[in-house]
């Protein structure tokens, strides 16, 4: 009897240990990668790890055309994918040294926290809660978005407020989910949510008519509509944009140098567009007399060195993916999304890079 009791205790303790491994695996598996290591390193544990590994591990969505989706050759295409490539170009001098890791809406933050990915470029909205509670830092905004609604044309709905009593398909664990709840609450409209985690399943539910409307970031809706091919005119995107959804890449807290590199990689792409530096003309820019451009392409100053990378990092970025405008042209324009507020500040948009000096 006594033996059995002891065996029971052992079993119980073992179970506790196992569950702890499962639940703390998040933090445990990676030890403490955020602390600076050797003195001769770059001062960024993540950058050192990336260099040792020879590739940037980048968390992407993998299912949204225009942001990150594999093409017919299996190459990840899209704006987020290009942010990853730009970063690899800056950190390793080669834009192709990226390992794309597809994350879901629900596991993305855990993937970042645990160190499974070096950065998350996954159509993720910058919110206070995510930065303050999740141990993450948003490095900037690469797409100004907002929550929209896609409905079937046959439904004859012209505005979001006409959706009273409608069933709406939403992905759980997104900021969309909260934005819609807020919107209908503010307008005292009753609605029924259908929440399905898998993007393919939720789209199937919408197409089959299980939901009257499908809601996510307007860019995602435009991208989904675009993938419907000939039938895309059966769907309309309602004009209402009911929330601000600034999307941008984010990193773990605790590695400021890495944060700097990701942030200034984004700014460099914007600055390049502003100064008219493109993939095609970047080599010719070595003749440029304009100080801003000379600094940008590494002819003067030590901008790269300050970030712990090569001074010509912007040249590598531009050769890998081009400037922000080129990335937009390649990935977003085919879906028919106008540049709008995503234009540069001096062209009526919101994108504004601080001085690179």
């Amino acid at each position: 009897m006594k033996r059995h009791k002891i065996a029971g205790w052992l079993l119980g303790a073992g179970l506790v240990a196992v569950t702890n491994v499962v639940s703390s695996g998040v933090a445990w598996a990676q030890g403490t990668p955020t602390q600076p290591t050797a003195a001769q390193g770059s001062g960024s544990a993540t950058l050192d790890a990336v260099r040792q590994r020879g590739e940037v591990r980048c968390g992407v969505v993998g299912t949204v055309t225009g942001f990150a989706q594999p093409d017919s050759q299996g190459v990840m295409r899209g704006m987020d994918a290009d942010v990853c490539r730009a970063l690899a170009a800056a950190a390793l001098g080669d834009g192709e040294k990226v390992k794309f890791i597809v994350t879901t809406a629900q596991n993305r933050f855990t993937a970042l926290q645990s160190g499974e990915v070096d950065l998350l470029a996954r159509v993720t909205t910058w919110t206070l809660g995510r930065e303050a509670n999740l141990g993450t830092l948003f490095t900037g905004i690469n797409f100004y978005d907002g929550t929209g609604f896609l409905v079937k044309k046959s439904l004859n709905v012209k505005a979001a407020k006409e959706l009273a009593g409608a069933t709406i398909c939403v992905q759980p664990g997104t900021s969309t989910e909260l934005a819609i709840a807020d919107f209908f609450r503010a307008n005292a409209i009753k609605w029924t949510p259908i929440l399905i985690q898998d993007v393919a399943e939720i789209r199937a539910a919408f197409l089959s008519g299980r939901c009257d409307a499908y809601s996510t970031d307007a860019s995602g809706l435009a991208s989904f509509r675009f993938t419907q091919g000939d039938k895309k005119d059966d769907f309309i995107l309602l004009p209402d944009i009911i929330s601000k959804e600034p999307l941008g890449p984010l990193v773990r807290k605790g590695d400021d140098k890495w944060f700097d590199l990701v942030r200034w990689t984004l700014f460099a792409m914007l600055a390049a567009e502003e100064f008219g530096v493109t993939t095609a003309n970047v080599d010719a820019m070595s003749e440029s007399k304009i100080p801003d451009i000379r600094r940008l392409v590494g002819l003067e100053g030590d901008l790269g060195k300050a970030l712990g990378v090569d001074n010509k990092f912007v040249v590598t970025i531009l050769k890998a993916v081009g400037n922000y405008g080129e990335v937009w042209e390649r990935n977003i324009t085919p879906m028919g999304i106008p540049r709008g507020i995503n234009n540069l500040w001096n062209k009526g948009g919101l994108h504004y890079a601080p001085p690179m000096r």
């Binding site: 664990g173 819609i180 709840a181 773990r252």
Partner: protein
Amino acid sequence: MTSVTTTLQPRVAPRRRIRLSWSDLRGIIWQVLIVGAILGVIWYLVDNTNRNLTARRIATGFAFLDRVAGIPIGESLIDYDPSIHTYGRALFVGVLNTLRVSIIGIVLATVLGTLIGIGRLSTNWLLAKITAAYVEVMRDIPLLLHLLFWYTLLQQFPGPRLALHIGDSVFLSNRGIGVPIVQWHDAFSWMALACGLGCAVIGLLRRLARRRQEATGHRPLLWPLSVGLLIVVPGLVWFGLGAPFVVERPVLRGFNFQGGATLSPEFAALLIGLVIYTAAFIAEIVRSGIQAVPRGQWEASRALGLRRGAILRRIVLPQALRLIIPPMTSQYLNITKNSSLAVAIGYQDLVSIANTTLNQTGQAIEGIAYIMAVYLTISLSISLFMNYYNARSALTER
């Protein structure tokens, strides 16, 4: 023989002097070492987790349960409004949704499984083969495929504006099955009370009747009185309170049906999938349980002149039950845990809501701990009840 049993005294163990042999000591040392090692590992894991969480400034603790949730929930048994209610309540809605599908699933799977299990033993060739095919096919298909199949199928019904309907009260569309319900009235509570009282009285009468049967060999006729107590009395109560009866039909208003009760496609798909899948396993348990009852029991019952149905009900099934209950407990636990696959088809069970919660709050460890605690509680409750039932129906032997 009889005189011996009456004089038996409980045997007292002889007192033993405590003496540690080397093997005893070795045993103790090993146990201390193992327990120490395990405690060390636990301490390391907890400490490491806490340190890393602090280093990354990730919020910890269960304070988020009191924060307003803001996450919408499709179907809920209790009142839930994302703009007022907290994460704690949202998670409770999830627990109730899990319990709802589990309990209904357990009942339906047991009924279906038992019928199929008995069917496999039928002397009717066709019935035996069909049920055998059912078992072999259904249990070989992964549950997730079952769920996706049924969910896709249920989405193929026409939209609400073209819903299939029976008269103007039952509607079948891709929004679910809309059925009319009777509007609640206080009179119904009184009727329920009358019914409950009736049941209690019948229970008492049955005990009296049994005693009479044991004493005299005659069992008094009870059913006319039972019918009176269960139907006539509540009926009179209903009549006395003004015979309220207002039917609320589902009506197409705007996008969806309003009013009546709706069985959502998500719930229906999950329930159908769980029941059909688990019934195949239960059928096998029932069949093996029945076959394990010795043939002699059948032959003896037949010799007494009992019919097949009566033999099954009165002789074989009660004995088979003892073999059926323990593996059945596992199946019930399986239904409960498998219901977490609901997340794939949009039924908002505990796991689905907890996942959303941990994603919105970022507190994964707390969220997973909550899920584990709830499943552990539900599973242990089922086990406890089934073990109690098993002990009660076990053959009393020395």
